[in-house]
């Protein structure tokens, strides 16, 4: 074994405390007291400078350790017996429930655990995978492809995620700051949250917007300071009971609908003067005659902008309103950048 292991007093104290709780039954006790913990587990009685800790400090330290352990999935409950406050492991909640994953499922979970999205959430996908791996599933460890996503998940903090999950489950109203774009002033919005929806590599918070009294979706990158509101507060309560989602409603369709709002689909004809240099524009289009392509059901705004981006390698032949829009945009580009 490595002999010169750097000490990490905190982590060793937390691990030893867990061992003590796991061995309660073995030593014939039903709970531990703070006194017992201080006397038997290294790292409590004395601080880093070797001075004895006061009772108040010990209580605070133990509470902090309890929270850290609970956060990791080690729930410690308080019991009062014979006028003594004791602590024990909440047995039912300690173990990962019996679950069997196939080797194929194990491979995708390992990848999900290791693909590292965002700095904060990556900690939790990794620790989640560690627990599942420890349940004994087997997979071919040689095949974890190197895959990363760089998307909205990176901006979602663990505490925001947790706040949203909890508010959703407890039917608690949320407040958050919404900033439509980086230079806009953030405005406070209140919402009864319905869920988080992943759509085309983006993440949206969907729910009932209280001020608009309508369903709204917010891209997660544009909201911050997500906090639960006090449902007993007079102003908060004035919006009535929590607006629940109709169980039949498909949140992804709500996001889709909001994204599609304001879009106009058109059919167009495009001449690709150099098809290699405007590949994005004619991707998926039907070649009708030589260098002429038919585009079906494309977003008009996308078409105008993309045709401009690849000028002069492509020309829109019709319809007329698209041609006028492209010409107007190119005139602006010529004028504004000269």
């Amino acid at each position: 074994m490595a002999s010169e292991l750097p000490r990490d007093v905190t982590i060793e104290r937390l691990v030893n405390l867990t061992f003590a709780f796991l061995n309660l039954k073995r030593v014939g006790r039903s709970y531990l007291t703070l006194d017992w913990v201080v006397r038997n587990i290294e790292g409590y009685k004395y601080n880093a400078k070797g001075q004895e800790r006061s009772q108040r400090t010990l209580e605070k330290l133990f509470e902090r350790d309890r929270r850290t352990l609970s956060f990791a999935g080690v729930p410690i409950e308080t019991v009062v017996m014979d006028n003594t406050v004791g602590y024990r492991l909440s047995d039912d909640d300690y173990r990962l429930p019996e679950v069997s994953f196939t080797p194929e499922e194990a491979t995708v979970l390992a990848l999900a655990g290791q693909m590292g999205q965002g700095d904060e959430l990556a900690t939790f996908t990794r620790s989640g995978w560690t627990k599942i791996a420890a349940s004994g599933i087997n997979r071919d460890v040689s095949i974890t492809p190197q895959f990363t996503t760089v998307n909205d998940f990176a901006t979602l903090s663990a505490s925001t995620l947790d706040t949203i999950l909890q508010a959703h489950n407890n039917h608690t109203r949320l407040s958050f700051m919404y900033q439509p774009h980086p230079a806009a002033e953030a405005v406070e919005r209140w919402m009864d949250p319905w869920g988080l929806v992943s759509q085309r590599d983006r993440l949206y918070l969907v729910g009932h917007d209280l001020d608009r009294d309508e369903v709204r979706t917010f891209r997660i990158t544009r909201i911050s300071e997500v906090e639960p509101l006090d449902m007993d507060d007079e102003t908060v309560a004035s919006y009535g009971p929590f607006h629940k989602a109709d169980p039949s409603v498909n949140l992804q369709e709500l996001v889709d609908a909001q994204l599609r709002r304001g879009r106009l689909l058109v059919n167009a004809t495009v001449r690709a003067i150099d098809p290699q240099r405007c590949a994005e524009l004619i991707d998926g289009a039907v070649e009708s005659n030589g260098d002429v392509y038919e585009l079906v059901d494309v977003d008009k705004d996308w078409l105008v902008r993309t045709a401009c981006a690849y000028a002069p390698h492509a020309v829109v032949l019709g319809p007329d309103d698209v041609v006028s829009a492209v010409v107007a945009q190119l005139r602006l580009a010529a004028k504004e950048n000269s």
Binding site: S135, F153, C308, A333
Partner: protein
């Protein structure tokens, strides 16, 4: 400084390593490291730490194991024999990651993604229902990802045709793929380009006819330091561009590392951003001319204007306009 997140991960690793080796008796430290996404040194250090832990300090109260690099056997786990339950945050983070994986069929088995997510949802009950189970969509053709994955797994080079749209050059390439990533629903691979002898990033929608070579893949992995928050190396760019963007359109720059500056008299906002690809900037300015203009570098602004004029010349326009 030890952050709360590092502590969390350290703790979860330590509390699950004994159950892990109990469930995989005789597994080597190397195999365990590969499985858990750790370095072998980390596994070794964790085991050494656990070796000094236990419910007490007596000889019968410490963890005992027979551990060497080739094989690890736990002799006394001191009661730590079960993996911990998943917390709400861990399960939700995994479900969100699986939602992402559902969009890349070919890289992974989509059926397995869906069934793994269902099993996770089952054991979590109501705790994670806020993560909506979206229907996956195919962001990239499955056959393409299938070939890329095969090249990574079999460690052979990937042959393909690549259309560098911004430069209009179509060429056959031989690539040693290092990593696949998505950004804003666009797929990319980072690969060692054997024709140019350097690592480059390739957009999947410009790549066609992917096939496997018989040549061994030789990515110079140690030479590249992939930063998942900066996959295009914006931070390493020394050149800057100065743009003016109409204020309500600033969301266009949401995924770019921009610095926001002064507001102009006509309601535009000045922004600077690292300039890594001139052709990209020219296309960006052409496409968003109603709300974006290039101020610096001047020669790029001039090119935008020239491209627009030559584009206009192709439209049949009345002379007086």
């Amino acid at each position: 400084m030890v952050t709360a997140f590092k502590r969390h991960h350290d703790l979860v690793r330590l509390l699950n390593l004994l159950p892990y080796f109990e469930a995989h008796p005789g597994r080597s430290m190397m195999e365990a490291a590969a499985d858990l996404g750790l370095t072998p040194a980390q596994v070794q250090e964790d085991l050494a730490r656990l070796f000094c832990c236990g419910p007490g300090i007596g000889p019968d109260e410490l963890v005992d194991m027979d551990a060497n690099l080739r094989s690890v056997r736990i002799l006394d786990n001191q009661g730590m024999d079960a993996p911990l339950r998943l917390t709400r945050t861990e399960a939700a983070a995994l479900l969100l990651a699986l939602e992402n994986l559902e969009n890349v069929p070919g890289l992974v088995d989509r059926t397995a993604v869906v069934s793994a997510a269902n099993k996770l949802r089952d054991i979590m009950g109501l705790e994670t229902v806020a993560v909506f189970d979206s229907a996956g969509e195919e962001l990239f053709p499955e056959t393409m990802l299938d070939t890329i994955r095969a090249s990574m797994e079999q460690r052979v080079q990937l042959l393909c045709t690549y259309n560098s749209a911004t430069r209009g050059i179509v060429k056959d390439r031989a690539l040693s793929v290092v990593r696949l990533f998505t950004k804003n629903a666009q797929g990319y691979i980072t690969a060692f380009d054997h024709d140019h002898n350097e690592h480059r990033t390739f957009r999947l929608d410009r790549l066609s006819e992917p096939r496997l070579s018989t040549e061994r893949a030789t990515p110079r992995t140690h030479e590249i330091n992939f930063d998942p928050n900066d996959p295009f190396g914006f931070n390493n760019s020394s050149k800057q561009a100065l743009l003016e963007i109409e204020e309500s359109s600033l969301w266009l720059t949401e995924t770019l590392p921009v610095t926001i500056g002064e507001e102009t008299a006509d309601g535009y906002v000045q922004i600077t951003l690292p300039l890594v690809d001139e052709q990209w900037l020219i296309q960006f300015a052409l496409s968003h001319a109603d709300r974006v203009r290039v101020v610096e570098p001047r020669e790029i602004a001039t090119q935008v204007s020239l491209r627009a004029q030559s584009g206009l010349s192709l439209y049949d326009l009345p002379m007086n306009q």
